[in-house]
């Protein structure tokens, strides 16, 4: 979700987030338990059509799905030898369709929309859970991933620039210290923006 959102106005983009979440869960469940290869094949075709309708850039879509292909490259031969090639093919197809559906969801849904959906889902539990706070927590977690990754990159660059290799400690200490400073600054920014309660 960190910059994965692919802007658009298709019906896939405009569909209510809760509906998309429900359909995603339902599809993954049905595909997961169905032994019918025709159903999985149909689901695969449907996902391809949805990607085309949503006009998600091919390169971005492939980048989302490629990691699972690498996993399957190792897992399918092992499962094929142990449980048979039909089972291996079915498992691989199920995983591929599930990951493609999840990728389609993240690429056509903004973080704000997901947070709002979670807030609606958590509303019945408002006595025990502050949905707004949970939403903020999720947003900050997502935001902090590129922030920390930038810090790690800069620490590595600084180490390279100084021509040193150093130990794990020489990387961990500046990363942790800078992350704490960044967290402090982010906290101040939240206060300044009126989210201090």
């Amino acid at each position: 979700m960190i910059g994965l959102y692919s802007p658009g106005t298709s019906f896939v983009h405009r569909a209510p987030t809760l509906l998309k979440l429900f359909l995603l869960s339902l599809c993954v469940l049905v595909i997961g338990i169905s032994p019918d290869p025709r159903l999985i094949g149909g689901a695969f075709l449907a996902v391809v059509v949805l990607f085309v309708v949503a006009r998600v850039p091919v390169q971005a879509a492939v980048a989302q799905i490629a990691p699972i292909l690498l996993v399957l490259l190792v897992a399918v031969p092992i499962q094929g030898l142990l449980s048979g090639w039909t089972v291996a093919a079915l498992t691989a197809s199920r995983l591929l369709v599930a990951v493609a559906l999840a990728a389609l969801f993240t690429m056509t849904t903004t973080v704000t929309a997901v947070l709002e959906a979670f807030q609606i889902l958590l509303r019945p539990f408002h006595r025990f859970i502050d949905a707004d706070r949970v939403g903020l927590l999720v947003a900050l977690t997502i935001r902090c991933i590129p922030l920390v990754s930038d810090i790690v990159r800069e620490v590595f660059e600084a180490r390279t620039a100084r021509g040193t290799r150093g130990s794990l400690q020489s990387i961990a200490v500046p990363v942790v210290v800078r992350s704490l400073y960044a967290a402090d600054a982010l906290g101040e920014a939240l206060i300044a923006r009126g989210l201090d309660d």
Binding site: M1, I2, Y5, L186, I191, R193, D196
Partner: protein, 226 residues
């Protein structure tokens, strides 16, 4: 425009005294604050937003004591930090600007309308759905400005907002300032940015050593540096 008053304000961090008996009234349209590193200027402006509470003395905004009414004051006073990366909270540009309007009793349509207007004003409309962390340094600072501006505060305080920017982006930020109707209080090391302001205050070792028209205050500051 807000009337900001510092009365007998002092601030210490441990044994180190950062501000000493500061008495000031900030009620002009555009006010610059300059001073050497560690002079206390950032601490001074952070007090306006309640990010720092004075060790002694009081800071008031339109008569409201910031220490006691911080939340109300923050609705009037927006704050821009040196590093825009520290103040980006949401993943996309549009979402980050809209984030400021949370808990302000606005409906989704009003939030979308005001967000779009702020993005347009700061030339970020075409980046609305881009990942905020992938913007350039100048665009990030414009985003920070838009995220503060969208709340329509009476006063915008900026703590060295151009320090991390190149000359072109610093000029872009400066041009945006000129157009803002809000009261603007800017801490900076880039003296040319405040030359056209209404008033410039010089802080040295926790005290106000010059306060007046830019030409007068900047000459005093340059003399200090010489």
């Amino acid at each position: 425009m807000s009337s900001i008053r510092f009365e007998q304000v002092s601030q210490s961090f441990g044994d180190r005294s950062v501000l000493r008996d500061v008495n000031l009234t900030l009620d002009g349209h555009r006010i610059g604050i300059v001073g050497a590193n560690g002079s206390g200027k950032s601490t001074l402006v952070r007090m306006i937003n309640g990010l720092v509470t004075p060790t002694s003395g009081t800071v008031t905004v339109d008569g409201q004591n910031v220490a006691r009414h911080a939340r109300e004051v923050r609705r009037k006073v927006g704050f821009i930090f040196t590093n825009p990366d520290s103040q980006i909270v949401m993943p996309t540009v549009q979402e980050d600007v809209a984030f400021t309007l949370r808990r302000r009793g606005l409906n989704a349509e009003q939030i979308a309308e005001r967000t779009a207007a702020a993005l347009k004003q700061f030339g970020l409309s075409e980046h609305a759905e881009q990942a905020a962390h992938r913007l350039s340094g100048g665009q990030k600072q414009l985003l920070a400005l838009a995220a503060v501006f969208v709340a329509q505060p009476a006063t915008i305080v900026a703590d060295e907002p151009t320090t991390l920017l190149d000359a072109r982006n610093a000029r872009r930020i400066s041009e945006q300032w000129q157009a803002l109707p809000q009261q603007l209080i800017v801490v900076t090391h880039h003296l040319h940015l405040v030359e056209e302001f209404d008033r410039v205050i010089v802080i040295e070792e926790g005290e106000v050593v010059a306060d007046g028209m830019p030409a007068h205050s900047l000459a005093a500051y340059r003399a200090l540096l010489a």
